[in-house]
């Protein structure tokens, strides 16, 4: 009964970025080992498993773009967005779920159906991660605080639980097209940089951001904002618990209305 194929599972270890994961999808697919015999994994491998062989996937823009185009064409915009968003959330199973979702999607007569197959566990996970990523990104669209540096650049620092820079960059690029601005992710030492009237880009290993100090106007606007923030609350409806659940402490360290100068 037990027909041992003696097959090892090949685990493709990819970099924890969209490019990394999609390169992994490309490699796993073209390995022709059969979908059941491959697995995708992001990041370093802490616990190696028996009966697995490991292969490092090198992130490759060209491969990733090919996969992305296929997703867009065959699985539709919705699935495309799901995958792009899910890829930024920290989750150990995301790369494999994305791979399975693509495999199933491409086997359907109409690949667009895949984004609605929420009873399928892999699709469900990607769906959930997308929701989570969107939620995180959306919060940062509001909670990012720019301060104006001496040279007029608007500078902001965040410490995000997911790699959302590329998700929020288009929003701010559209919003502040004529400004030079930077959002720096302290946790990942990455920054998105937007020169006025040009397109934004991501800088990796952006360790040293020389702090120029604030512009002369900066302290004035910060104090005005604090005045406003204090005045707009209704004392007889004070609700610190609600305030805390809507705006947890981790965000507050970057928001001047909560930091005492």
């Amino acid at each position: 009964m037990s027909s041992c194929h003696c097959l090892m599972i090949r685990v493709f270890q990819c970099e924890d970025t969209l490019t990394g994961i999609l390169s992994g999808v490309y490699d796993a697919w073209s390995s022709r080992l059969g979908h059941r015999n491959v697995r995708l994994q992001t990041g370093d491998n802490e616990n190696m498993e028996l009966f697995c062989e490991y292969e490092q996937t090198v992130p490759d823009l060209e491969k990733a773009e090919k996969v992305l185009r296929t997703i867009y064409k065959k699985l539709g915009e919705e699935a495309y967005e799901m995958i792009a968003y899910a890829a930024v959330c920290p989750h150990s199973g995301k790369a494999d779920a994305i791979y399975r979702m693509i495999v199933i999607g491409l086997s359907l007569p109409d690949g667009r159906e895949i984004s609605r197959m929420l009873t399928q566990p892999d699709v469900q996970l990607v769906f959930e991660l997308r929701r989570k990523a969107w939620h995180i990104a959306h919060r940062y669209m509001g909670f990012v605080r720019f301060r104006e540096l001496k040279n007029g650049v608007l500078f902001s620092e965040i410490d995000a639980e997911a790699d959302i820079l590329a998700l929020i960059a288009p929003h701010f690029a559209d919003r502040l097209p004529l400004e030079n601005w930077v959002v720096y992710d302290r946790r990942r030492k990455k920054a998105v940089v937007h020169p006025a009237q040009k397109s934004w880009m991501i800088l990796e290993e952006a360790e040293a951001f020389a702090d120029l100090g604030n512009s002369d106007e900066e302290a004035y606007y910060e104090s005005l904002w604090k005045v406003f923030h204090r005045a707009i609350g209704i004392a007889s409806r004070r609700n610190a618990g609600l305030q805390m659940s809507q705006l947890p402490r981790k965000f507050r360290q970057f928001m001047n209305e909560f930091v005492d100068l």
Partner: protein, 435 residues
Amino acid sequence: MDYRIEQQIDLSQKLEILADAAKYDVACTSSGVERNNSGKGIGNCIKPGICHSFSADGRCISLLKILFTNECIFDCRYCINRRSNDVPRASFTPQEVCDLTIGFYRRNYIEGLFLSSGILGSPDLTMDLLYQTLYKLRTEYHFQGYIHVKAIPGADPELIERTGYLADRMSINLELPTAEGLKALAPQKNRPKLLAPIQQVRRMRIQNKNELAVYRHAPRFVPAGQSTQMIIGATGESDWQIMKVAEHMYKKYEMKRVFYSAFLRVNDDSLLPVIPGGPPLLREHRLYQADWLLRFYGFGTDELLSEEKPDFNLLLDPKCDWALRHLEQFPVEVMKADYAMLLRVPGIGYRSAGRIIKARRLGTLDYANLKKMGVVLKRAIYFITCGGKQMYPVKLEENFILRNILDGGGRLRTAAEEQPVYEQLSLFDDPRFSM
């Protein structure tokens, strides 16, 4: 004789006075329009709106919410800025409002501006100042973020019209749910005068839609629609009367939002009630939940309340309350029920209802799936079956359900082994995020 000591006050003091004076206006949402930047200015709008901070009362801060002036010639009894009060007074200039808006917006403190005002001199004069401010922001600064502006009742309709082409949302507050209440507490205002600009905005919006159908690039008039606000508990209206007014506002005037504001006794005035326990926040919360049911769940006011039962149950949300009075319509089979019926199940929101409809076409659902789709099982289990099965053998019986739902902290007393963790049922579940 009236002695007034003229004193220069700086922008910071003005902001303090005029934000403080605006804080009772509850509308602060920046939602309803999607607009990209033209590439030549500052700002955009995204449809769901964005919260930029939260104030000490837990409300979202999205807009720079200020009065243009609180030097008001009117004497509305419930209002802190009424003429007869001795409070610090200030007025902005259009330039100052622009500086604040742009300075805050660049730093990502806000989504835009919410400009309201007391009546300075006359309605026309005030409306003109609001218009000038918006004009400056839109044309000099090319500001493309969100603007919510008040239309001043009694102002020249042409001024209101011109302002409407610069704003995203316009609002005229009804102030009190009924004409009688208004007469008693705001003697210089009257219902027809408040309704006139509401009617005008509605008319212009329809006209504008037709224009836009022909000329795609025609300027847009109040694209995020209009909203209004009522004070709850200052006068003796029942919830039923209030919801009737709200329903009328949605149907007849195509209001985007009706806001409810629990009465705060800011003035010591013999005509104002003293409410033991402070502002009726829970009542306000129930009205918001019911409002949600009207707008997104296909309920009518007369299903929820009646002359005989004119007020909401403060212990239960209106949807649960309705369901318990209509147990004959339950349980609902999740795999078969239509969208309208799913919406009526406590614990199923409109998003999860939509997801259920889509997902069940492609496969069979179980309770774990439902949970993942956002269904609040601790409420829904009494009212649904999934694939013909109940999650646990629970009774479809009013008192039993009531006891269990109210005992949110406790566990279900059934024989089932595996049970989900019950969260404490919060009476202040925000209706905008749950239900």
